[in-house]
Amino acid sequence: MSVVVGYIPNEYGEAALTEALAEAVRRGTGVVVVNTTKGDSLVDKKYLGDEARSGLEQRLSAAPVDVELRQSVGADPADEILNVAREVGADALVIGIRHRSQVGKMLMGSVAMRLLMEAPCPVVAVKP
């Protein structure tokens, strides 16, 4: 039993991570941090490189709860987060959300939308 959080290295991911740690303390469980990429572009700023990963791990080692960092390449981000949530039997899922313009809603598929609709557990949506 744990809190799953979808993490990307920017303000939305940070907000979600902070909230996830607080949520885990409230529930008395651990946190599973999921960082994932489709891996179809040469550079993906949402995916942690080696350096960024060890930096995050160091920061998380100071957290008051157990934290596990999972990274994956290849699957659709929403699918991957849902898989992890089901696998660990998540108590809650924490995600960062942001405002999208009308055009943006038409052009881009929303990971947040799919997670809200399909998650097997309560979803906490945070804004930075």
């Binding site: 990429t37 489709k38 891996g39 572009s41 040469l42 550079v43 995916y47 350096e51």
Partner: protein
């Protein structure tokens, strides 16, 4: 002085707003394709061949020349920021450039690469302008037998000297030569290798071959290796250099230019050898040897200048002899033929306006590259975030459109897929693409010259050896083929460095 006047005339032609716009589009497009690994200027020019049906020859060559130089420039950006060379000539830049970037000197590495490219490109283009008329004058005297020998030399050099595996090189060459044979025999009109298919009687259009091998082959290859761990990109600001960087860069720029130009101008193919030699030379001459391997600016400045100088040198054999030595030159030659322009020694006298405007636009394109691209470096780095499925969908669209546009026939699109499969196969088996594409283009030219020589001698084989120049070239050829294995045995080390070989297969 004559040359200078002609060049100034060309400059006046190239400086019309319209032509200037084509040069700008060319360099931007070239940088775009150069930055993205796997998509080079050769592919870009091949994809754009059909678009130029509506353009004047001069304008389309200005566009293509811009793409060519832009591609060289873009390749170095990727090398430095990603340690993934955008094209094979940037391998050496990646070694020191990426180390510099990791130490937080990405801006300086990009600046020395860009300014070095500009210096080398400008000197190189001027050398082309002065050497080509002279060489073309001599070349008019060359007979068919010697022409045949020169083409044979350039094919063998490209195939045997570059790359680790001569066998793979020759497999590529023979695939190319075979494709070039398809169609009606020149003098007897017999159908060769057509398999009874009527549409093949006219031969295979070079656009279809080039687009199939470069674009479809690469798209299939990427599709087969789509999901990959993203690479860390190094953030970069606006490139600039300190006084010390300038002091350390200008000599390697000039030395790189001096090394690169002759290699580009000789039919030895490609910028790989001079960039490697320049790197070795700079390391040997440097007073700060310990910095090499840890981000020495000389190791970026030299190879990058050599790269661009050899890119410029390529125009000498192309314009004076009609002989392409790189993949991009091969596609440029195909473009000339679609306009009905006969490449060869007479080009300078038949199409003086085209040639001189082209050379002038090279100078302009080079300057534009520096002015437009230096401030845009951070933006180019962003291109690497484009998801590949979208990118290659666009490439496939243009590829199919281009193949169809050649003759407005669906048969060509089917043929495109066949060559796409060939392109995928040669990537899969590590067969270099350069010999293949040169085989397709030079093969028929070589056959024409051989037939000419043999007709003159009434079919007697001695017709191929009756010129002193031809005999000298055959002797040279024998030395080139025999010397490397001997030297290798004596020295116990391969002449071509490993890094180059690995790149060879990905081109």
């Amino acid at each position: 002085m004559d040359t200078l006047n002609l060049l100034l005339d060309g400059m006046a032609n190239a400086l019309t707003p319209e032509n200037l716009a084509f040069a700008a589009i060319g360099v931007l497009l070239g940088t775009f394709v150069g930055v993205l690994p796997g998509i080079g200027p050769a592919m870009a020019v091949a994809l754009l061949l059909p678009i130029t049906y509506g353009l004047e020859p001069t304008q389309s060559f200005i566009l293509f020349a811009g793409i060519y130089y832009g591609g060289m420039y873009g390749g170095s950006t990727t090398s430095i920021l990603l340690n993934t060379p955008g094209e094979s000539a940037s391998v050496m830049t990646a070694i020191e450039g990426n180390k510099m970037a990791k130490k937080g000197r990405a801006a300086q590495a990009l600046a020395t690469a860009a300014i070095g490219s500009f210096v080398a490109g400008t000197i190189g283009t001027l050398l082309v302008a002065f050497l080509t008329p002279w060489l073309a004058e001599i070349a008019v005297e060359i007979g068919a037998a010697s022409y045949f020998a020169i083409m044979l030399l350039s094919l063998v050099l490209v195939t045997a000297v570059l790359g680790s595996s001569k066998l793979r090189g020759f497999i590529g060459l023979f695939i190319g030569l075979t494709i070039g044979l398809v169609g009606l025999d020149l003098s007897t009109g017999q159908a060769r290798l057509t398999g009874g298919i009527l549409q093949l009687a006219d031969g295979v259009d070079i656009v279809v071959v080039a687009v199939g091998i470069f674009a479809i082959g690469e798209a299939l290859w990427i599709a087969a290796h789509l999901r990959r761990q993203p690479i860390d990109v190094i953030p970069v600001g606006r490139p600039f250099m300190s006084r010390d960087d300038w002091a350390r860069s200008w000599k390697p720029w000039l030395r790189g230019t001096a090394l690169g130009f002759p290699f580009g101008a000789l039919p030895a193919g490609g910028a790989e050898t001079p960039t490697f030699l320049s790197y070795v030379l700079e390391r040997r001459l440097s007073r700060k040897k310990e910095e090499f391997g840890h981000g020495a600016i000389e190791g970026v400045a030299g190879p990058e200048a050599a790269n661009n100088a050899s890119a410029a040198g390529m125009f000498v054999p192309l314009l004076a002899l009609g002989l392409p030595v790189t993949a991009t030159a091969a596609v440029l030659l195909a473009a000339m033929r679609t306009y009905g322009i006969v490449p060869g020694p007479t080009l300078m006298t038949d199409q003086p306006e085209l040639v001189w405007t082209l050379l002038a636009s090279l100078l302009i394109g080079n300057t534009l590259l520096l002015v437009i691209n230096l401030p845009l470096a951070p933006m180019w780095a962003k291109l690497l975030q484009i998801p590949r499925p979208q990118l290659y969908a666009g490439i496939l669209f243009f590829a199919s459109l281009g193949a169809y546009a050649v003759n407005q026939s669906a048969f060509d699109v089917a043929l495109l897929l066949v060559f796409g499969a060939v392109g995928f196969a040669v990537r899969r088996f590590g067969i270099p693409i350069l010999p293949l594409i040169l085989g397709v283009i030079i093969g028929p030219l070589m056959e024409t010259k051989m037939r000419e020589a043999l007709d003159l001698s009434n079919g007697d084989i001695s017709g191929l050896f009756n010129e002193p120049l031809a005999i000298a070239i055959y002797v040279l050829l024998a030395i080139i083929l025999i010397a490397p294995p001997v030297i290798q045995r004596v020295r116990g080390a391969p002449l071509v460095p490993r890094e180059l070989d690995e790149q060879e297969t990905r081109r």
